[in-house]
């Protein structure tokens, strides 16, 4: 069996997945050894498949896990849901009202604690972050900048911003632009 370039282009994906028969595979191997263009095509496709198949290509937004867990919690305890729902709604109303108030006076909240820091953009309001009293920035759990800090307090990002905290340049980088 002999194959030409067009046949190779047609079968290259199956070839890569090991889904071509023995005879066709042998013919393609033979062609690929001699044809630079087709071997480059195969190399490219192999590279594409390995890049996109990499675990690093699978990303979720910061706070995704937290918000998912909260939603699951609300739904897995139907008896508590009504009360929980009311509590969340009430708290959200207070927060929203508060943030409108703050927004009128200064952007995201009170004057930032650091004159050099940037205010964050599109920080999910209910993202849980960590702050400490003498700090100026808010952090994700596990951020190396807060490993030695005491009195860490978890708080919703919206609340942290209202208190004048700004995103950490290391762990909240994606919200600084």
């Amino acid at each position: 069996m002999v194959v030409n370039c067009e046949q190779v282009w047609h079968e290259v994906s199956d070839y890569l997945d090991g889904e071509v028969g023995v005879e066709l595979r042998a013919a393609m191997d033979e062609h690929l050894r001699a044809c630079k263009g087709c071997s480059s095509l195969l190399a490219g496709m192999r590279n594409v498949v390995s890049l996109y198949g990499d675990e690093r290509m699978v990303e979720a937004p910061l706070g995704f896990s937290y918000r998912l867990q909260r939603r699951l919690e609300e739904n897995s305890h139907p008896t508590r849901r009504t009360f929980f729902g009311w509590a969340v709604a009430a708290a959200a109303t207070v927060l929203v009202a508060g943030s409108f108030e703050a927004a009128r006076s200064y952007g995201l909240g009170r004057t930032p604690r650091s004159a050099h820091a940037q205010a964050g953009n599109h920080v999910p309001p209910d993202l849980m972050v960590l702050v400490y009293p003498e700090g100026k920035t808010f952090h994700a759990a596990g951020c190396p900048f807060i490993l030695d800090k005491k009195n860490l307090r978890p708080v919703a990002a919206q609340e942290a911003q209202r208190e004048g905290y700004v995103p950490c340049v290391r762990c909240m980088k994606q919200y600084l632009s």
Partner: protein, 218 residues
């Protein structure tokens, strides 16, 4: 470090997953998150590949996971839990897309055109893009943009097969198409991506792909 989401997990892990499924079914609802935790990012990314919008994808992913929770009794143990979960996410995302675009015409790029003759765009030497490049966010974003530029029917197959690592049969089943169609679309998707990325790292695609208005090529 995130746990590996590969299907060929450690035997102990597989046992514990089956055990978790059983316990959740038996009413230990609090364990459900433990069960889906290794796959939550994959669920999001499957939804994102279809909806191409972070907020919609997050909503669809949450909804899919809730549906999995509510219907866990329908999960057949001979299937892979991760595949079942991804299939629910894909269905949820596709349903939302249909709802949002019900009044729009199908884009030209998405019309089935699987019989056309393909000629590689750039037939020169392939410039390898090393996997270490994925450490750079801008590279990951550019790859995502290239993928987003493919027509829907190609993108879906590629995402399920090459990013979610479903088998070609599972991919076909999820998308309700024949295995032959899935293979043809996969071939086209891989070829199109290969063409888009052919100039290699730092090549024109790095700037050309940007959808941002006024993006500069340097």
């Amino acid at each position: 470090m995130p746990e590996s989401a590969t299907p060929l997990g450690h035997p102990a892990r597989q046992t514990s997953e089956a055990e978790l499924v059983r316990r959740v079914r038996d009413g230990e609802h609090d364990l459900f998150y433990e069960l889906i935790r290794p796959y939550e990012r994959r669920v999001y990314s499957a939804a994102f590949a279809i909806l191409r919008n972070t907020a919609d994808a997050e909503d669809a992913a949450q909804e899919a996971i809730l549906k999995a929770f509510k219907h866990i009794r329908q999960f057949r143990e001979e299937a892979r839990f991760s595949t079942w979960l991804i299939q629910i996410a894909v269905n949820e995302a596709r349903m939302r897309r249909r709802k949002d675009h019900a009044d729009l015409m199908e884009p030209i790029a998405d019309r089935p055109d699987e019989s056309g003759v393909y000629t590689p765009r750039d037939f020169a030497d392939w410039r390898e893009i090393p996997s270490e490049a994925l450490e750079r966010k801008e590279i990951r974003e550019k790859l995502a943009e290239a993928l987003a530029s493919l027509g829907e029917i190609y993108r879906e197959v590629f995402v399920l097969r090459d990013m979610q690592h479903l088998s070609i049969e599972e991919t076909a089943e999820t998308l309700e198409i024949s295995t032959a169609s899935a293979k043809t679309r996969l071939l086209r998707a891989r070829l199109m991506l290969r063409d888009l990325l052919a100039p290699g790292l730092g090549g024109p695609w790095m700037s050309r792909l940007s959808f941002e208005k006024g993006a500069k090529p340097w």
